[in-house]
């Protein structure tokens, strides 16, 4: 009897952590495999544990790039969000639908598109190439910052729009009667919106810390590139993973500082009422730059598609590229959707735990997969899952979901932080099954975070190379592998044709997801 009680008590203690099991199976198991492999092969003892010399310089480069992208992207996102908030309802709805398009476009497609502008045959190329030649590495770094900021500014913009919808309009109106518009902005609106802006900036910084494709294309030397180079040259996962430690600590530190800054702040925890507060009316000193940024952003949203259309040459080329690559496109879309759904579901319990009992340890544990380069993580997945799932796409789905889960986790954590825990506790009082509570209460409340996290993971899976090369089942390759092969071959028209085929499908899926989410929310 006593033994049964002990077992029962132990089970009860363990029960709250059981929902974390999927997270640990997906993200923790491959890392545990790598760690065990390292323990069995002691050459790691020869590796320096403390970064020195070049590693420190590269780490500083990574941090500088991530800070620059965080600041530029957040500023851009904030201005875009303000511009949309000040628009009429119809335009705002259209804007919210269009806003995530750069986020859903794989960064390498954006890079290739903008890069094509610098062709010597174009006017812009003739104007800017001499500037870039003169600017050297500085112009490369600037290009990388602008491109990454353009690709990811929708993250802070969406988070800010979500926070703006929860602003208390009546309180702001009352404040405006007492004080001027400027004072309401400085002492009311900005402090209320700051946590969402900070969260968006932190997400951008974390994304940039581990970005590979764009820094590689622009030749910006970062620690992530170094880890890939180290792994490619030595073939030793442990040697390559050691430089990841500072990156992991940096990402953890950024988020921990964010957590401390955001504690007790944030917009009131009421769920969105459906209307937009009048208090968002902007003084002229803000309104003019906001509108200018809105117009520029609108132009930039259309530019990649127009550039690719010009590069492809004819619609026949687009159709031919689409037909030739249909298998790869469909496989990549399915993998992306599968990984995004898996991420969203498995990250939820950990995001909740992190909100209820925040600790640096949990945060670093949740972020760990982010700091491991894709090829290393995939080797862990290959070691654990391949004997069971060889020849299928499932190891690749597991690798993508496991490695990208921190993005889903962070997006959900950010929204959890801004919501009143009482809302969830009230939901728990109802005697309904947990799945219904999840689908009717938790997920609708977290919708902005779930949407951002899902969109980020989906877009990143479309750009994945490191995992695809290691885990693709034979005969069924993914879209980025084919696209990079064509890029290497120099087939710019085919690349543009393929990109023009995949983008409308991705955008259509986003539109459907928005419609579905709206119906669900109601």
């Amino acid at each position: 009897m006593t033994r049964r009680k002990t077992v029962s008590a132990a089970f009860r203690r363990l029960f709250p952590t059981l929902p974390l099991l999927p997270y640990f199976i997906l993200a923790g198991a491959p890392l545990a495999f790598l760690a065990a492999d390292a323990a069995l092969h002691p050459p790691w003892l020869e590796c320096p544990l403390l970064p020195a010399g070049r590693i420190v310089r590269l780490f500083l480069n990574s941090v500088a790039l991530s800070l620059a992208v965080g600041i530029v992207g957040t500023a851009w996102g904030a201005l875009a969000a303000l511009c949309l908030a000040g628009c009429r309802n119809g335009i705002r709805r259209l804007g919210v639908l269009l806003l995530p398009l750069p986020l859903l476009t794989p960064p390498y497609i954006l890079a290739v598109t903008w890069w094509s502008l610098l062709d010597r045959g174009t006017l812009i190329g003739r104007l800017f190439l001499p500037v870039m030649q003169a600017g050297g590495t500085l112009s490369d770094a600037l290009g990388a910052v602008l491109l990454l900021s353009f690709g990811w500014f929708p993250i802070p913009a969406l988070l800010l729009l979500s926070a703006m919808r929860r602003l208390p309009g009546d309180v702001l109106d009352a404040a405006r009667i007492q004080a001027g518009q400027g004072a309401v902005w400085i002492r009311g609106l900005i402090p209320l919106l700051a946590p969402s802006a900070l969260a968006g900036g932190a997400l951008l910084s974390c994304l940039t810390l581990t970005a590979y494709g764009v820094p590689a294309l622009f030749q910006v030397r970062t620690l992530t590139l170094e880890m890939h180079a180290e792994f490619s040259s030595s073939g030793d996962p442990v040697r390559a993973a050691i430089p990841a430690v500072p990156l992991l600590l940096a990402a953890g530190a950024v988020l921990w500082v964010l957590h401390l800054l955001a504690r007790g702040n944030g917009p009131p925890s009421t769920p969105p009422s459906g209307g937009w507060p009048e208090g968002l009316h902007q003084p002229p000193c803000i309104a003019i730059p906001v509108r200018a940024v809105g117009l520029i952003t609108l132009a930039l949203l259309c530019t990649p598609v127009l550039l690719m259309a010009a590069k492809a040459g004819s619609w026949r080329q687009v159709v031919r590229s689409g037909v030739d690559s249909w298998n790869e496109i469909s496989v990549s879309l399915a993998l992306g959707a599968g990984a995004a759904i898996l991420c969203t579901i498995c990250a939820l319990p950990l995001a909740r735990l992190l909100t209820r009992r925040p600790s640096p340890g949990t945060l670093v544990l949740g972020l760990l997969p982010l700091a491991i380069p894709a090829p290393l993580f995939s080797l862990g997945v290959l070691g654990i899952w391949s004997p069971l799932l060889a020849g299928t796409h499932l190891p690749l789905v597991v690798a993508l979901a496991g490695r990208l889960m921190p993005f889903a986790l962070l997006s959900q954590f950010v929204i959890f932080r801004t919501l009143d825990p009482l809302l969830f506790e009230m939901g728990e009082l109802h005697p309904v099954p947990p799945t219904r509570r999840l689908l009717r209460v938790t997920l609708p409340l977290l919708l902005p975070g779930v949407a951002v996290g899902g969109a980020v993971t989906f877009a990143l899976t479309l750009g994945d190379l490191g995992s695809s090369v290691l885990l693709d089942p034979p005969g069924a390759g993914t879209f980025p592998v084919k696209l990079f092969n064509l890029l290497h071959y120099g087939a710019g028209d085919q690349v543009a044709g393929m990109a023009l085929c995949i983008l409308p499908i991705v955008y259509l899926l986003w539109g459907l997801a928005v419609l579905l989410a709206k119906g669900w929310h109601r």
Binding site: R54, D119, R120, G125, L129, M132, Q133, A216, L217, Q219, E226, H228, A229, E230, F231, S232, S233, S234, G235, L333, A334, L335, A337, G338, I341, P375, L382, G383, S386, P387, A390, G391, T392, H393, L394, V397, V432, P433, P434, T435, R436, L439, L465, G466, V469, L470, P473, P474, G475, A476, G477, V481, K482, F484, N485, L486, L487, H488, G490, A491
Partner: protein, 344 residues
Amino acid sequence: MDAASGLLYKVGVLTMNRSTAVLLVASFLPFLFGCRGTAPPPPKEVVCYTSVDQPHAAPILRLFESRTGIRMRAVYDVEASKTTGLVNRLKAEAGRPMADVYWSSEIVQTMWLKKHGVLGKYVSPNAEDIPLSLKDPDGCWAGLGLRGRVILVNSERVREVEMPVSIFDFLDPRWKPEDVGIALPLFGTTFTHATVLYSTLGEENAKDFFQAVRDKGIQVLDGNSTVRDRVSTGMLKMGLTDTDDARSAKKKGAPVRLIFPDRLETGGLYIPGTVALVRNAPHPVEARLLIDFLLSWEVEVYLMEADYFHASVRSPPPSTPISWAEIAERTPQVREDMREIFLH
């Protein structure tokens, strides 16, 4: 039964409404689409891992499929993963290989795989006319086509009289560091080039050359295609790359010129592609047929006409006399030196 129902109730299965059920089923549809690889394999198939560019390799593999009726399943590598993705995969799968044939765009990685026991033995009848220096004495691999190493020069930015003739011209003070580029010599053909320089120039001289490259601050880029693109656009005046990359730039109309460096001294450097059987390949009979096909003269000519290969292994141009076995022996030391010079 009651306990089971209770559990199902608790997790919500029994109380789910129709829309929830549809949503749950729909969320798993992508997995079903994504699992086409689970279908039972047809009786005859062959799996080929290749680091040859997909636009070149795919038509050849399709031709093999149409001629033999054997289903071809390929996995391609990309330069962005330093063309080492498949090598790492082959090593990780060594205990339970999925691949039958490894068709590589270069030779050093193949020899590394042989050293680690990943490759099996097969001497193809089509390799008979390949010179001994370009096939493995143990029958683990055979050469297929040669790619040359060239200096690609932007002819709009470099005058005719200034054209470089040697890689040592990169160190000439008249070229600024930001005018010249090479790929990171830690992988791919640039690493092979570095290893060959160790063999031909001697360890000290070769190491001094790369140290001088580093000290001068010459642009060390991500890959040969990046060197090509930067020279083509004029962001670099010149850079070291492969013939296939250089020819693709020329085909696109870029103002570039190809120069085979150090031709007078050593005859230039040509690096063979390789074809190898994977040890314990799941489809050994089909794998041998594919190797025979790949090593045929017809495939080599096709790839030369497509400007992927510069020359045939059957009639190699005059070049640096190289013992690839010696090169393979040197690789660990060269790799360490390159890591020390370029990564530390």
